[in-house]
């Protein structure tokens, strides 16, 4: 059997070894702050190769090596250091502190927990501090917070110029001294859409630089290269020589020196395989130069910014396309209506002239004129429908033109037209007579036309199509019943939604208002469309229309 507990005896020597080897830093300081003891982790985290080297360094020299800051970045005076606070009797002296190694610019985060060790009489003897390096943890946390903030900013508005400016402001608070975003605008080349600087005075100078020496599209500078290749560029340290080379003239160089162009990262804004622009971050202090390890975070930021630009542009393009379509329809509708109005007018004038006289020779002429009038009205209805589809989709009201209309007459007329279109179906028309509703006749005809076409389309094996007119006293009801496929119960609730079609029918083509549009048209007339259906037996669609001039609310 193996020796238990690795030969542990609990001797003082073993405990000293534990303290020496433990992963957290441990120091013992006397009441003046001079370090009397440190373990290996403590020495290494303060940048010393050995414990001896640390302990041999006088306190003043040690303090001079670091700049100690609190979590918000404010420098801490000697009195505010956790150890001093512990000595003064502060009950919770543990703190999260940042210290910057002056010689390398490296910044570390540390959780420091000092504890005063007292003599038997209660007087303080020395301070034991345990500290843990939380730089990595802190960086992860910061990274997540930053990305969350960036995500929130970028989804706030569809105006990407506004959101990118806010992003640049966030970047200069957290990551860089200077941040600019350039976006390729179609037609006008590279546009600087956002500029932010940690120092507001320098922001004005940065804008001045942009105004006087604008970025040249296609230029072979660093920005141009990133735009071309879509690959990020890191220049950890920019030399004065490089600044002079990049500057257009000595005055430009002078500005760039004043702005402090010391370390730069240029990230491409890539979305859907295209470079939309670049995100440039600048630090003006060589001590805080960008390094490779920071690139993944900057990459993430750039991806988010690119997605935001891309989405905003897609939204803009879509909105423009819809507007263009609506504009076209409005103009087309107007331009078609005017000649239609003249044709219809002349036909009706001609018919009026024929009316009083009734010689046999005029019978044919009368017939031709009537036919031409019907066709003109049909064309008018098509133009109206074209416009209605567009209006309904953009949520605008229709110009509803209500007149009294005898539903029985309307039904017979529509059935007569559709009866000629399908030999496979038997059309019947029954119900109450003299039901006069108050409706937009042209649109009611379109709706009924739609329902009758559907009845034919969805009863492919023929059969009876019955149109029934009834009255409830306040509303006329016009039902179209077929003996066709019917609608599955599960599909019924969604049957009036746009782009919906029963799951038991194939790709039957359909244009125009459709059921959704027909129902909306009826609702704008103060009516509605109702449906009843049993799969395999057929469907009944009922158009409900107000009878009175002031439409009564539907039950």
């Amino acid at each position: 059997m193996a020796e238990p507990n690795a030969g542990w005896t609990g001797s003082a020597g073993e405990l000293a070894l534990v303290v020496q080897e433990i992963a957290d830093g441990i120091t013992v300081q006397d009441l003046s702050g001079q370090i009397c003891y440190a373990n290996l982790a403590a020495a290494q985290s303060m940048g010393f190769p050995s414990v001896e080297a640390l302990i041999g360094t006088p306190q003043a020299e040690l303090l001079a090596r670091f700049e100690v800051l609190d979590a918000s970045g404010r420098p801490l005076s000697a009195d505010e250091l956790p150890v001093r606070r512990a000595v003064r009797g502060d009950p919770s002296p543990e703190s999260l502190i940042r210290f910057r190694v002056r010689s390398t610019g490296e910044e570390r985060w540390s959780l420091v927990r000092p504890k005063v060790v007292r003599a038997a009489d209660g007087s303080p003897r020395f301070v034991v501090s345990a500290f843990r390096d939380v730089t990595t943890l802190r960086a992860t946390e910061q990274r997540l917070t930053l990305l969350a903030d960036a995500g929130e900013i970028l989804t706030r508005s569809a105006d990407y110029q506004e959101t990118l400016n806010e992003l640049a402001n966030l970047v200069v608070r957290e990551l860089a001294d200077w941040c600019v975003v350039d976006v390729i605008e179609e037609g006008s080349g590279v546009q600087r859409v956002a500029v932010a600087h940690r120092d507001p005075e320098k922001l004005a100078e940065a804008q001045e630089v942009q105004r006087r020496w604008p970025s040249r599209p296609g230029a072979d500078d660093a920005t141009g290269r990133v735009l071309r290749t879509g690959e990020p560029l890191l220049i950890p340290l920019i030399t004065d020589e490089q600044i002079r080379e990049a500057a257009t003239d000595p005055e430009h160089a002078e500005y760039l020196f004043r702005l402090g162009l010391r370390s730069v990262v240029i990230e491409p804004l890539n979305a859907r395989g295209r470079v939309l622009g670049v995100l440039t971050l600048v630090r003006s202090d060589a001590d805080r130069a960008f390094n490779e390890a920071e690139l993944p975070l900057l990459r993430e930021l750039a991806v988010r910014a690119a997605t935001s630009v891309d989405t905003a542009r897609l939204l803009h393009e879509t909105t423009e396309a819809v507007r263009a379509r609506d504009d076209f329809l409005a103009v087309a509708s107007h331009d078609m209506r005017t000649p239609l109005a003249a044709i219809l007018g002349y036909l009706q004038l001609a018919l009026r002239r024929l009316r009083p006289a009734d010689p046999a020779s005029d019978v044919k002429l009368n017939e031709y004129l009537r036919a031409a009038e019907r066709m003109t009205e049909r064309l008018t209805h098509l133009v109206t429908e074209l416009m209605d589809v567009s209006l309904l989709q953009s949520g605008q009201p229709l110009a509803i033109d209500r007149q009294p209309v005898d539903l029985g007459d309307l039904a017979s007329r529509m059935v007569e037209v559709h009866g000629r279109l399908s030999a496979a179906h038997t059309f019947t028309c029954d119900g109450d007579s003299r039901v006069v509703a108050y409706a937009d006749v042209g649109r009611l005809e379109r709706v009924l036309d739609n329902l009758l076409s559907n009845a034919i389309k969805f009863s492919p094996n023929g059969g009876e199509i019955r149109v029934t007119v009834t009255s409830t006293g306040t509303h006329g009801r016009l039902s179209v019943t077929d003996a066709g496929l019917g609608i599955p119960a599960a599909d019924l609730p969604g049957i009036f939604e746009r782009f919906r079609r029963g799951s038991n029918v194939g790709p039957v083509t359909g244009t125009g208002l459709g059921l959704a549009g027909s129902r909306e048209v009826m609702q704008q007339m103060g009516g509605d469309i109702e449906v009843e259906s049993v799969e395999g037996e057929g469907s009944t669609f009922t158009v409900v229309i107000p009878l009175a001039e002031a439409p009564a609310p539907l039950p």
Partner: protein, 136 residues
């Protein structure tokens, strides 16, 4: 042939000459007198020339020189003409809203059936004394 009744005069404001002719023929055939204007500005000239005021103004909206909207606005602001009954006859897709906005008595969307046009005028104008005549 009859003499149109000056008390039943309809002012047609329409930029399309064919439509002006169609409306005029239909109204003359019913015994109404008509005066014609191709835009708002011409309509103001016709009204200023007087002497009789029309019993109805058939008004298109989109017209060159002076639109129907502007003419309606001018009439509204005039003490002499602010009670003239306007009937908007336009192709505008929101014709109902537009008619309400300019305070029109009625509206018709182009293409309009002549029987509806005449029925609307009949509601607003006194019966022509000479009575309807189909063959003018």
């Amino acid at each position: 042939m009859q003499t149109p009744d000056p008390g039943s005069q309809v002012l047609i404001v329409e930029d399309d000459p064919a439509l002006r002719e169609v409306y005029a023929d239909a109204l003359l055939g019913e015994g109404y007198a008509v005066s014609l204007a191709a835009n708002g500005s011409e309509a103001l000239d016709v009204l200023s020339a007087g002497p009789d005021l029309p019993c109805a103004v058939l008004l298109d909206l989109r017209m060159p020189v002076m639109s129907g909207w502007e003419l309606a606005d001018r009439l509204q602001k005039s003490e002499q003409w602010n009670t003239l009954p306007i009937v908007v006859v336009a192709a505008h897709y929101l014709v109902a809203d537009e008619a309400q906005r300019i305070g029109a008595k009625a509206w018709l969307q182009k293409p309009v059936r002549l029987d509806r046009l005449l029925a609307t005028v009949r509601d607003l104008c006194p019966e022509p004394s000479a009575g309807p005549s189909a063959a003018n």
